[in-house]
Amino acid sequence: MRYFLALGLFGVLASAPSAFLDATASARIGFVFEAGKTPAKYLIEAMGGGVAMIDADGDGWLALFFVNGAALVDGPVGPLPDGRGSVSRVRADKSEPRFWNRLYRNQGDGTFAYISDKVGVRGHGYGQGVAVGDCDNDGRPDLYVTCLGANILYSNRGGCRFEDVSVQSGIAKTPGKGLGVAFNDVDRDGWPDILVANDSFPQQLFRNRRNGTFEEAALPMGIAYDEDGKVFAGMGADLADYDNDGRSDGFVNGPANQGYGLFHKGKGLFSYTAGVAAIPRMHSGWGRIFVAQGHVMDNIERTQPGLRYRETPLLMRNRSGEFIDVSAQAAPPFQAPMAARGAAFGDLNSDGAVDAVVSSSTGAPRVFRNAAADNGWLLVNTIGEKSNRDGIGASVHIIGESGHEQFGYVTTAGSYLSAHDKRVHFGLGRDRVVKRIEIRWPSGIVQTWNNVAANQIFEAKEAENGSF
């Protein structure tokens, strides 16, 4: 049984009130996910699609990128040798504009504007997930879109222009059945690699060859199959260091009956670690949990009355490590059910509070604006030098003036099909100064900063012997 959970864990101090507002209408996002539903009810129709937060043009405001489906056409792909019939197969047709992927510019006033179809991201195939990462370390975040078939790598050329480099990068050479996707520097060479979760297909790991090309190396790296050498139905993907050894481990979740795969990264290879229910996001302070959810079957109520196709989002408050469901007391957006799929988290309006955008399998996405105003905050924007340019994989440890310690990890992954703001968010409560920030970069460099003022986007540049 497949049940999608797009989960966000974010650091707002426990004392802060729940203050999410439904900003969907005011955001003026005209996007509608087109699943291309057919009477045949192909599984793929129920899976998508993802959403990403990306500072596409470097203006400091997070744009929104939505992955879209396609028309599913069951038609002939070639004649039978006898000429008396044809071989038929379902194929994805994205030619109609309503099926294109879309990028919306953040106008800085709470609204978003569709740029144009000339941005270069309209796509091909049936889109599913998306990841954000700077593949070529040029300071501009790129987009990786998973599809049924060949995935797409869009290189950010600046000025909100993207170029499909899937073929020249080698990504297109190894098609799969991609869903979730995550960036991280698995071999710590300073260049981000890409993990793709594939549904009933070997998982893929694209190693960055540092020249604009990638090689698929999941099998030799030990992350393609489960511990028995069997394919499993990968859904979400994450790369993060769960055991604090400085290496990014892999996590691929699947349906309940197949379990989840946690792959520990040793000195060279990954090794499957059995018996794991979920990967912990290490030392996340007192973060809350936000879960966007919805069932895969649009008629599940008929067979399992306890389940719903459309579910209300779940909000859980963390009280010193004990999570309490506060959805019922939360703002109106939490009372409206939806067939949620992806969820991306980030500070859309640069007010220091983490907002959320939730994509739907059946239509328009929903924007949750976090209006918590009184608490202090810090957004740490890492810029790698020896490490990858985004600093993905860096661990951030802060101590507030009250002595409260929090830990963060730089990543854009961790949510089903979707990509977050890569900046690490810390809720500071009444603290107005952070006594100490320590960043452990993927390169091994450890840097510290002292007495950093709260309520700012703090740019942390990697440097040798860095202590500030």
Partner: protein
């Protein structure tokens, strides 16, 4: 074993087994039962006719008789059991399960039906269906290690680790060297990280069945998990040697062991073999799906009378599944119907090459050769079919026709007489016998 069960079940009627049936003279038994039925219809007699047909290796006729017996008396448990078992042998799992379900509706605690149906469910991966049957089975027959082990496997598949462990342990209490319980429990414990408890069980399994690849494979995998790569490698090499050479997972584990030992080249070679086998497995599955679709299309075309189109679809299916004897047989039959004897011969011979003990393939080849007027070859093939299954009347009849064409009237009469004896109601056999100049069968 199943036949013995039917006979036990027959005891429930309170009727003595018929003398002819008991002494193994099944042809006579059929005649006597049919005569008895003519005098006074009796559902049990029809069942005995089915059993006799079954013993004479006439499964289709046996099935018809079992079906008639079950229709005659829907509460005749033995008829439903016989139907289930015969369908099972013919690999028609759906009909077999339906028959066992009818038995269980009549007798909820029928051990044979519970065992057979649960086995079929497990075989088809329907664990949730097997579960209640196995639970009933172990409740009423506590001394069955196989039911305990099966139940343990079902619990394990459903994530009930404690339940699985308990059942495996009970199976081992009943029989300490029961292989499925040793491997089941050993694997369960190894996957939970309880290596010290798992290893002795898996080692014992490997001793109980030293030539079974599963034991070596599971032991090797468990040793990998425990980081004992040297021994893991040895066990996995044993697994490959004892039937696991075509199992991709064996080479995946071997690669893990080699990786753990720092043997980069050996790891690469094992992974390459794994990839090759995994690809083959995947390709085979895809080919099977596509071939099944083409066979369905061929069936529809055949029903609409388009033999040519059906043959084309089967040809395409054969390209996908070149080693499928049934498909080759179907193709041979279609080409025979289209009088393309060369093609029919080629396919029939290929089917025989794969399954030389199947009388039906040799019978068809005999018909093909007869059609092509290659009478000595036809005779040889039909004689081989008759040796493999002497109870098939059409084979003797065809043999009679061939030798008659060769001018051997006396031999032909002998063959036609055999055909008529086996199928006394068949008019065409009687006519052949008469036109050959043989006596009228009464």
């Amino acid at each position: 074993m199943k036949r013995a069960v039917w006979l036990l079940a027959l005891g429930a009627f309170g009727q003595d087994p018929k003398a002819a049936f008991d002494r193994g003279d099944y042809a006579a038994a059929i005649r006597l039962f049919e005569a008895a039925n003519a005098r006074k219809p009796d559902c049990a007699n029809t069942l005995y006719i089915g059993l006799s047909r079954y013993r004479l290796r006439q499964p289709t006729e046996a099935l018809l008789a079992f079906q008639a017996a079950a229709q005659c008396d829907p509460k005749l448990v033995a008829a439903h059991l016989a139907l289930g078992s015969t369908y099972e042998e013919r690999r028609n799992d759906g009909e077999a399960i339906a028959a066992y379900a009818r038995v269980l509706a009549l007798e909820a605690k029928n051990v044979t039906a519970l065992r057979s149906a649960s086995n079929l469910y497990l075989k088809n991966g329907l664990h949730t269906k097997a579960l209640p049957l196995l639970e009933t089975l172990v409740a009423i027959s506590r001394g069955l290690p196989d039911a305990r082990a099966d139940l343990g496997a079902v619990y394990a598949a459903g994530g009930d680790r404690a339940g699985a462990e308990a059942q495996f342990r009970k199976a081992l209490e009943i029989r300490a060297d029961y292989f499925p319980a040793l491997t089941g429990l050993g694997n369960l414990l190894a996957r939970s990280g309880e290596h010290d408890a798992a290893m002795p069980l898996l080692r014992k399994a490997a001793m109980v069945r030293p030539n079974a690849y599963e034991a070596h494979f599971l032991l090797g995998s468990a040793l990998n998990r425990a980081g004992q790569f040297e021994e893991a490698r040895r066990e996995l090499e044993q697994a490959a040697k004892h039937g696991g050479a075509s199992e991709p997972q064996v080479f995946y584990q071997l690669a893990r062991a080699c990786g753990g030992l720092g043997l980069a080249e050996e790891r690469r070679a094992a992974l390459a073999r794994f990839s090759e086998l995994a690809k083959k497995e995947k390709d085979d599955a895809a080919a099977r799906r596509q071939a099944a679709k083409l066979v369905d299309e061929a069936r529809e075309l055949l029903q609409s009378g388009d033999l040519e189109g059906a043959a084309q679809r089967l040809e395409l299916a054969r390209e996908l599944m070149p080693a499928d004897a049934t498909l080759l047989f179907r193709l041979a039959g279609l080409h025979y119907d289209l009088r393309r004897y060369d093609a029919a011969r080629e396919y029939a011979q290929a089917a025989i090459g794969m399954s030389p003990a199947t009388w039906l393939y040799r019978y068809l080849l005999g018909l093909v050769e007869k059609g092509a007027n290659r009478l000595p070859d036809a005779k040889a093939s039909l004689e081989a079919a008759a040796r493999l299954n002497p109870s098939e009347a059409p084979v003797w009849n065809a043999l009679g026709e061939v030798v008659l064409l060769q001018g051997d009237r006396a031999a032909a009469i002998g063959y036609f007489e055999k055909a008529c004896a086996l199928a006394p109601g068949d008019e065409s056999f009687r006519r052949n016998l008469e036109s050959a100049g043989g006596a009228r069968i009464k």
